[in-house]
């Protein structure tokens, strides 16, 4: 009992930083550091943990203050402000990959010039999309398809019926479709997307998640039937370029800027985020006591003229996330198909390794 009490006393001494007793120091040396997780008593543990957390918070605040002060002083003195530190993220510490395309790679462009999508991307052919579903389709599936139809111009929905996908591919080839999109639903929830390039383009199989339909998005807009602008972000590697071009070939290459519609495919850590927006440029009277939202902008433009243009975005939906599972050479063939890329579990050697 006595021993225990002694221990707790020591801990108390340690946690109160004001008295740096010799006992606490020796304790530090012998035990290196008492991590909160090593304390068995929950109350004590949470107390120590709270203390450590508080300290960290204070230190952080102090650092931020010092940084701000330095910046301010530099501004006053007219010097260069200290360099802003870039935080380490998984993306910018990505593993070096030799397949990342360089902009001066002529072989890449030569390869792009003669791939399956070049006819569409060079405006020789207008994209015409067939959208269909898996055999059983209900609730969110049809709703998602009606959303997709409004996003992709010149897309046509065909009921799946009981046709084989290979037959549908043949049919679509004869009818001069350029791509097929198959929405696969499982348990009444869309969970996969298959994009087939025609006549001999690749077949990409995506996992679909985080689907929010237009009606689920608060304050959504309704898109017009103008041809949308397309934004493809961060498709860097050879495979990424190919996927990017596959997606690009779904949309017409001559956007109508009058429509002010943007479709975004943003790749981040191999997840492709889909967003659909409407934007508007507005000229606004700027008062100094303007709305709280753009305070920072106001402070910058104190001496600027009283009107300015701002861009406002309104999301039109749907909103979903794609992840590439496989890219198949040729059209859909689940048994005899050759893969250009398949995700295999042994490839996940690091969380800093990305393929797109």
């Amino acid at each position: 009992m006595g021993g225990k009490r002694k221990k707790s006393n020591e801990e108390g001494g340690e946690s109160s930083l004001t008295d740096d007793g010799g006992g606490a120091k020796s304790n530090k040396k012998t035990k290196m550091e008492v991590l909160p997780s090593m304390i068995k008593n929950k109350e004590k543990r949470s107390a120590v943990h709270a203390k450590i957390k508080q300290q960290k918070k204070l230190e952080k605040r102090k650092k931020a203050k010092a940084r701000d002060a330095a910046e301010k002083r530099a501004l006053e003195l007219g010097e260069e402000p200290p360099e802003k530190k870039v935080p380490h993220t998984i993306e910018n510490t990505r593993e070096a990959d030799e397949t990342v395309c360089k902009p001066d790679d002529e072989e890449l462009f030569a390869g792009n010039d003669c791939d399956e999508f070049s006819a569409i991307l060079k405006l020789q052919q207008t994209p015409k999309i067939l959208i269909t579903t898996c055999r059983f389709n209900s609730t969110r599936g049809p709703a998602f398809i009606s959303n997709l139809l409004s996003v992709i111009p010149n897309s046509h929905y065909y009921k799946r019926g009981t046709y084989d996908l290979k037959k549908i591919v043949e049919y679509a080839k004869n009818k001069d479709f350029t791509s097929i999109i198959v929405v696969h639903t499982n348990r009444r929830e869309p969970d996969a997307l298959l994009i087939i390039g025609l006549p001999d383009g690749p077949t990409a199989h995506f996992k679909l998640s985080k689907l929010r339909l237009r009606k689920d998005i608060k304050g959504h807009g309704n898109p017009t039937s103008h041809k949308p602008e397309l934004v493809l972000n961060n498709f860097t590697t050879r495979l990424g370029h190919r996927i990017g071009r596959l997606i690009q070939s779904l949309f017409p290459q001559d956007p109508e800027f009058k429509g002010r519609r943007v479709v975004t495919f943003h790749n981040q850590r191999d997840f492709i985020f889909f967003r659909h927006h409407r934007y508007i440029f507005e000229t606004k009277e700027v008062k100094k006591t303007d709305s709280k939202g753009n305070k920072t902008k106001d402070s910058k433009e104190e001496n600027a003229p009283q009107t300015k243009t701002i861009a406002r975005l309104q999301e039109c939906g749907p909103r979903f996330t794609l992840k590439l599972i496989s890219l198949q050479h040729g059209t859909f063939d689940s048994k005899g198909g050759e893969y250009e890329w398949v995700h295999k579990p042994e490839m996940d050697t690091s969380r800093r390794r990305f393929f797109l």
Binding site: M32, A96, G111, W341, M347, S350, R352
Partner: protein, 447 residues
Amino acid sequence: MPRTTTVDCSGCPPFRALTFDALGLIKVVEARDKQSGVPRVVERWGEPDSSNCVSAVSITHRKADPLLAVARKNGRVEVMNPVNGDLQAAMLNSNVTDVRSEENAIVGLHLFAKKNPELASRSCTLLTCTAKGDASVKSFEVTNSSSESVSLNSSTWNVCAGGNISCCKVDESEKYAVFGGKGVEVNFWDLESSTKIWNAKSPPKNSLGIFTPTWFTCATFLSKDDHRKFVAGTNNHQVRLYDISAQRRPVISFDFRETPIKAVAEDIDGYSIYVGNGSGDLASVDIRTGKLLGCFTGKCSGSIRSIVRHPELPIIASCGLDAYLRIWDIKTRQLLSAVFLKQHLMHAVFDYNFIIEENQLTNEEQANKDNVMLGEQLDALPLKRKKSESKEATLDTNDTKKKSKKTKDHKRSKEDCLGEKITRDEVRKSKSKKKSKSKLEIPDEGL
């Protein structure tokens, strides 16, 4: 500590390989270092054009006057010098009216190593086979010009009534050939008289009465001196061994994974084969028993189009749609190195006659090379390990590394939380320093 993966390959012996891709480019990959080399692209022949897509390749390995024949998608067959890429002769499939169609694409090509005694010394003989089944043996003069050569004598015959030929292989004695394809059972032909000797019989229906349609994708002869045994891979992931002296149905047949077999290659020992399939799995199989010897595991994700075995060194090369040429050790089944070649690769061949002279690399050159290596840091790093060092030695180094890691761990744990990040960085630096030092040391030992 960010977990990073290094390409853990131990470098490969000197070799020279040629790869052929979907844009019709021919790339020469060489590993030059005596002990352990990093293969890299040294030459690129041809202009990128999708109609030039290589469909079949054949090479003769004789010491004097080696030749390389390349069949393109547009029906052109080119004969080149594999050493410098000079075009020696070119031939258009003349009897074909519409060369563009898929049916007339050349799927099988074989360049005869033996010279026809009746013809002039500078001539070569080619066997071509189109997808439709038109096989022909042609001889023509090597003219060193890109203009179309005139065939001196040719014989043409049809190897199948219907269906599409997709594989064609000539045996070592160059008297017999095997053809097979989609809807075509494997045929065995005598090339001299161009008659069919043997024809395979399709396997019986399975227990449910379902008949799987015939579709052969690749074939290879099992050994050099025996033309009677050959292995064929099918589209429904079956590998079959046929023996024409025994029966018309396969002697051994086994399944390999789920996707179609796309490439088979024989080993020089005469019984083990290498199988590659449409999702990038590569394995070696003992064909006498049909037992899987082991898989070549790497981060290979694209369909394997071609596997080749080096005749002397214990390595194989595989290439495919993932645009990598990979070199594997056949004993350990480890990846020795991988070269990224940017395009979909169709074929690869080894140049057997490539030998590095001992005194080619002087000390200075070696030193220069090391400097270059230093710049490349991580990629080259594991490859610098000497091959001559025994496995034990490598194990030792691993042990020491572990030890050093342990000590570092102790140090780290002693230091307080705040300093941790910095120390980690330092540790990383020191590690890399150590590695670079060791890199410097190794060639010294070698000299």
